[in-house]
Assembly symmetry: C2
Homo-oligomer: 263 residues x 2
DNA sequence: CCACTTGTATTGCAATCCGATGCACTTGCA
DNA sequence: TGCAAGTGCATCGGATTGCAATACAAGTGG
């Protein structure tokens, strides 16, 4: 498992406003990314490139504040409930989500399939709102989950609104590993999807993230016309013919996007 | 609007392991609790009892790390996407949620109403998993949202598993303001509900949080038999007779609780 | 148009955080 | 049974690091 890039040492150099202790504390919180179980003090120290002493103090502090906790068996540390308070504030105060929420609920009422809103963050699309339908996988239902931009309907729709050189940069830097046998990892093939998205105003993705899933995505544009997020609707190929899915869902997504952007 | 208690100065006294800078940084993040719009540097400083200089450096650092951002109009600061990464790690690594998730999905399939799981945090019940049904309000659907323990079905169910002196302490310290005209704020009335919950193994709440809503809650017990969370099912009084709701939903909730605790 | 806000930048001083070390305890292997 | 390596927790002197006062440019509202 590749350790995430937690190295903020470079940032620090020659930045008198940068508070090292705070940064290290946040690195401790971020150390849990990609991890599957509780982390011991030594592991936290290793993953953050911080000495055990410092890690001890930072963990101690985060613990007292309710952001970290010791596991029941005392063997390691995990994020604690305080994190959800931050989550709530983020979601609640996000202007885009405030505007989008009613429209998303309306959309879900109409399509009766899973509806998501994900935020564009360069290489990643970060799920911020999920309206499930029937069956659901596991972690996939969690807020904050991320999927790569290069292989999702929403990502394609977003890239369709970026200038070519930005698309090129994004694809060049992407870590393209296939999530399913059908995931497109060839830049040319992806560019083709983007071209289609530019024509249609939406993108249709077949089994890019999950086998048996068809997804239709539309981009949401921010103030200066730059794409900031995407709406997805996901259905099952056992119930939908792809073209039928597009015919039925695309207009509804388009209208939802319009109604969000018009506010 | 009452400012939340962000005063960690007391904790600090005589705790050599406490990292002040980190604590202050987290206080900055927590400063957004209860706020309805972006916060200026001065406001952040005021709400955290930190000098403007310090607030500036902390905000600067949090910004560089993606936890805070400047609003488009440059008028203030808001939590940024980095928060959702922490959220995802918290949700994903929480052992209870890992176990509960499949059972909750199953429950929702059966009842076709909104199903929630909320974590017991003393005075508050914090929503950690939400499976909406049809109509929904906005903030109400967000992860990390909290409702008071004293006036929710889940809170009553949880208190039913606490010894009396702890219930007394909780009610004594509760800030009981009615959320609807029917919210129970009389300790005696609440104790009665708790008594009923002890008999039934679940609690039924009528219009305690929202008018027109009926909710049934069951407590989830942790390792040593202490309540740690609750499951809720919420329906509309326009569609359900309360007793009918109980008859139909209670057994399903009970079974879900059992299946979660048995893991 | 002036007074007041906003975010940003600089700098000397000392408090704060750093990190090496050591302890008490549990776990697992021999 | 006993050693070794893991755990979290505690101590302490020194200098790095964050502190707070101050100043600046830009923008707002009266």
């Amino acid at each position: 498992m590749a350790s995430p890039d937690l190295d903020f040492a470079a940032e620090k150099a020659g930045d008198p406003l940068f508070v090292q202790s705070l940064a290290r504390g946040m690195q401790v919180m971020a150390a849990f990314q990609g991890v599957e179980r509780a982390l011991s003090l030594a592991e936290i120290a290793a993953r953050t490139s911080i000495t055990r002493s410092a890690a001890q103090r930072l963990v101690h502090t985060l613990r007292k504040m309710g952001y970290l906790r010791l596991t029941e068996d005392g063997r390691g540390f995990l994020p604690d409930l305080g994190v959800l308070d931050l989550t709530y504030d983020y979601l609640r105060l996000n202007p885009l989500l405030r505007r989008a929420s009613p429209a998303l609920l309306e959309l879900r009422r109409n399509v009766r399939e899973r509806v998501d809103l994900s935020l564009f963050d360069g290489q990643r699309m970060v799920y911020a709102a999920r309206m499930q339908s029937k069956r659901e996988m596991f972690f996939a239902t969690l807020v904050g989950n991320t999927v790569p931009t290069f292989c999702t309907s929403g990502g394609w729709a977003v890239m369709a609104h970026l200038p070519d050189h930005q698309v090129d940069a994004l694809l060049a830097n992407a870590d393209m590993k296939a999530l399913t046998p059908r995931t497109l990892t060839d830049p040319a093939a992806i560019r083709e999807q983007i071209a289609m998205a530019r024509e249609n105003g939406h993108a249709l993705a077949l089994e890019q993230i999950l086998m048996g899933e068809v997804a239709l995505g539309g981009a949401i544009l921010g103030a200066e016309g730059r794409p900031v997020a995407a709406i997805h609707v996901a259905g099952s190929l056992s119930e939908w013919e792809p073209e039928e899915f597009r015919r039925r869902v695309a207009p509804l997504v388009a209208e939802t996007v319009r109604s969000i952007e018009s506010l």
